[in-house]
């Protein structure tokens, strides 16, 4: 083992039916180091981590830990925990029916009995030290997602661990919470804990990490010191090609400007739903790309859900091309040419066990109706068309969608909606949790569609993506529309100040 290394993974192989997820991957983590693990979706980061934490068993290769002479055998998450490897996963892996304190301590303390008093006191201490707004005795399910994620982090760092794995822990956290997390990571680093940090946010990598390991297509690209690897190079290493796509996007933006004076395709007045948004007005023109922005929980998703009729509508009218239409259910919206790509891909988007083909035709099929099934041949034709058009990486159209990588799943879903030939496409966080390459593909696609006359709403947590694609931004705060920015006002600063509420 290398000096100071706490963890060494050597020559790790892992394959799933039809996919070689990891091939001869080496990974080394030293004491007191924050090590970013980077790569596109499907590059094998998650697989590597799941091998390390015992969720998957590796096909071959060795894992060495400091203090163990021989390679260690990790067969279950329990083994990993006992060996001092603690993990925070991207999806929250806590039990919603247990109390906050139980979630922090279950499965990691020894002994037979359960001392509630002591446990609650300990939990309160951790909650307080991390400033998490929850009570130890509260049922976890009643906490917000961000709080749940912080609790998971609290649990992981409280363990006396040598290796801490953070697998995209920040996607549901707001900036303040991310700051808290970073401070925590630095404290642990000072104590000599090795931290593996997986994220899609480049800013965060450059803020806290010391080293970067890049994976691509299940293979190791290399390990780099952070100061020796500028962003552009990191991105090109991840993608495996030099990249000037960013500038491409900018240049395309001009093509749809001429549609500015059209009347709105869709407009809504006084719309509100039972998801808790305040009344809002809204319009979109033909060929326009607009966006909803605001902090997490500001109501931007609820707004578009209301337009699509996904939540129960409690008031307001929607007009299409000036004529009032009734949209109370998603099917109404679909029939009126609206398509909606939901924020939570796994929960609301994919139908996991169904094939890529069925996933692609689903929306169109529903629109055609119960008695007009799409024939198998036609379905294959549609599927192949969109697999090619969006360059979806899949073994075949019959592969279950759940075995595709996140980015490709997202593309299938976009294909599903494009197949319905919508006039208005709503994309809610289409780029979340997917790799840089696909992110750029999607942004380009949005602009292309708009230039062909489709109206698009594009929502993203990353402001620069919104600035790049949208010509008009609706700004939200506390479930209310607080402003609208377009033209010259579309700058980072202006958005921030509108979100914050100062009218300067």
């Amino acid at each position: 083992m290398r000096d100071k290394a706490v963890l060494e993974m050597k020559n790790i192989h892992k394959s799933f039916p039809g996919v070689r997820a990891l091939q001869a991957v080496d990974f080394t983590l030293c004491e007191g180091e924050i090590h970013a693990l980077m790569g596109e979706n499907g590059a094998g980061k998650s697989t590597l981590i799941k091998v390390l934490t015992g969720v998957y068993s590796k096909d071959s290769g060795d894992i060495f830990l400091k203090g163990h002479d021989k390679a260690v055998a990790i067969h279950s998450p329990q083994d990993a925990q006992n060996l001092g490897i603690s993990t925070v996963y991207q999806e929250i892996t806590l039990c919603p029916n247990l109390s906050v304190a139980e979630n922090m301590f279950i499965g990691r303390t020894k002994g037979f009995g359960q001392n509630w008093k002591k446990m609650n006191a300990e939990a309160d201490r951790i909650l307080k030290s991390l400033d998490i707004p929850a009570k130890a005795t509260q049922q976890l399910g009643s906490c917000s997602l961000a709080v749940q994620q912080m609790i998971a982090i609290g649990r992981a760092v409280d363990m006396d661990c040598k290796v801490l794995i953070l697998d995209e822990p920040t996607s549901s956290l707001d900036e303040g919470e991310v700051e808290k997390l970073f401070k925590l990571m630095r404290d642990l680093k000072a104590k000599g804990v090795g931290i593996i940090f997986v994220t899609h946010f480049l800013d965060q990598v450059y803020e806290v990490c010391d080293k970067i390991t890049v994976l691509r297509d299940g293979q190791l690209v290399g390990e780099y010191e952070i100061e020796n690897l500028p962003r552009v190079q990191l991105v090109s290493k991840m993608l495996g090609k030099e990249l000037d796509d960013m500038s491409d996007i900018k240049s395309e933006q001009s093509t749809y400007k001429d549609s500015d004076n059209n009347a709105p395709v869709f407009e809504a007045a006084g719309l509100c739903s039972d998801a808790g948004i305040k009344l809002f007005d809204f319009y979109i023109k033909k060929g326009e790309v607009n966006g909803f922005t605001g902090l997490l929980g500001s109501g931007r998703s609820e707004c578009v859900r209301a337009i699509f009729g996904a939540d129960r509508i409690t008031g307001g009218t929607v007009k299409k091309n000036g004529k009032t239409v009734k949209i109370t259910k998603p099917i109404d919206a679909m029939k009126n040419g609206i398509a909606y790509l939901p924020e939570d891909r796994k929960r609301d988007g994919i139908v996991g066990d169904l094939s890529v083909r069925d996933n692609i035709i689903l929306a169109l099929q529903v629109m055609q109706g119960f008695f007009k099934p799409i024939s198998k041949a036609q379905a294959y034709k549609y599927a192949d068309e969109y697999i090619k058009l969006l360059s979806i990486k899949t073994a075949s159209a019959d592969t279950p969608i759940k075995s595709l990588s996140g980015g490709n799943q997202q593309k299938v879903l976009i294909g599903r909606w494009l197949l319905t030939h919508p006039e208005y496409l709503i994309l809610d966080e289409p780029t979340r949790g997917i790799d840089v390459g696909t992110k750029i593909d999607i942004q380009k696609l949005v602009l292309k569609l708009a230039s062909e006359g489709m109206s698009v709403t594009f929502i993203s947590s990353e402001t620069d993506e919104m600035l790049r694609t949208c010509s008009r931004l609706v700004v939200m705060r506390d479930r209310k529309v607080v402003g609208e920015l377009s033209g010259e006002d579309l700058t980072q600063n202006k958005i921030m100040s509108t979100i914050a509420g100062g009218d300067k």
């Binding site: 699509f308 996904a310 259910k329 998603p330 099917i331 919206a333 679909m334 909606y340 939901p342 929960r347 609301d348 988007g349 994919i350 139908v351 996991g352 066990d353 169904l354 069925d358 689903l362 929306a363 099929q365 529903v366 629109m367 109706g369 119960f370 008695f371 007009k372 099934p373 599903r416």
Partner: protein, 360 residues
Amino acid sequence: MKDMKTKFSVKNIFRNQIFIPIAAMLLLLIFNLILDPSFFKVTLGYNSAGNPVLSGYLITILDSGSELAILAIGMTLVTAATGGQDISVGATAAIAGSVILRVLCGGNSRPEHMQAPIIVAFLVAVLASMLCGAFNGILVAYFKIQPMVATLILYTAGRSIAAWINNNELPVISDESFSYFGGFIPGICIPTPFLIALLCIIVTVLVMKFTTLGLYTQAVGINEHSSKLNGLNPIFIKFITFVILGVCVAVVGLIKVSRISTINYSVIAKDIEMDAILAVALGGNALGGGKFNMTASIIGAYVIQCLTTTLYKFNVQSDALPAYKAVVVILLVVSSAPTVRAWFTKTWAGITAKNVKEVG
């Protein structure tokens, strides 16, 4: 190259869902063939009414398995859409049967003639068991109660309701034509229940082909949230699967009462729910919902009947029957369990690899 191809197809056969029930069926048939080939004898004879009828063990299987096959159709849909099972089908079949008798007898427990055409009685029974299905469906789809629990209600109350419909009397229909549905239609030597089952299967195939029921139920069963955002109405789809099962149950009720021309409230269609669920599971369908294979379920139903008939043939007491059934069921589900299958595939791969080496 050629070898590669055969290997692939072998693998595919193992992976195919329909492999399990067919293999089980073949195994049972081979077992019978070895022990007593007379199992396969089919003879054409005449029944007491002088009509030509086929008889033999195979015919018995086709005949008695009909109810199960019909139920398996509805049960598969319910399982796929709701991820749960309806355990009230036996009790609902009792209700349906009771309704048929009530309409046919019109209050008189030993009528000389039927008081209403059979088709009317049947339609009323269909309505009644669709109502039962709708009741289950509302509880499951609208109140979001787990299917097994929701249907526990009718499971508990169903037979009591059936008895109440006929004031706890046991009406007997003496009209010959009523017994056609559970026996033989004059001039046709194939048992009617099998023909009815066949009809149900054909209708199902047509429905599957000309509607999107299959895709919708699977989508709802796999991901309800997502289906909703794709314009489906999961509540309605779950509800409708229960209603469809209700129709299947009514058909079963008709066959059951027609077989004996009367009804026994506590025994009619007893434990059939368990067999129907078993048929779905034997077909390799996940009881947790989602993807399904209707053909596999129907074959599964006949496998169960085949097993039952085989056991009867070997003079197993009817009360002891379940014990043997249980052993076979366990063997089947264990051999199709993913972990066991993975182990099996691995070993198989090891053997073939070894063989290749030896040959090479």
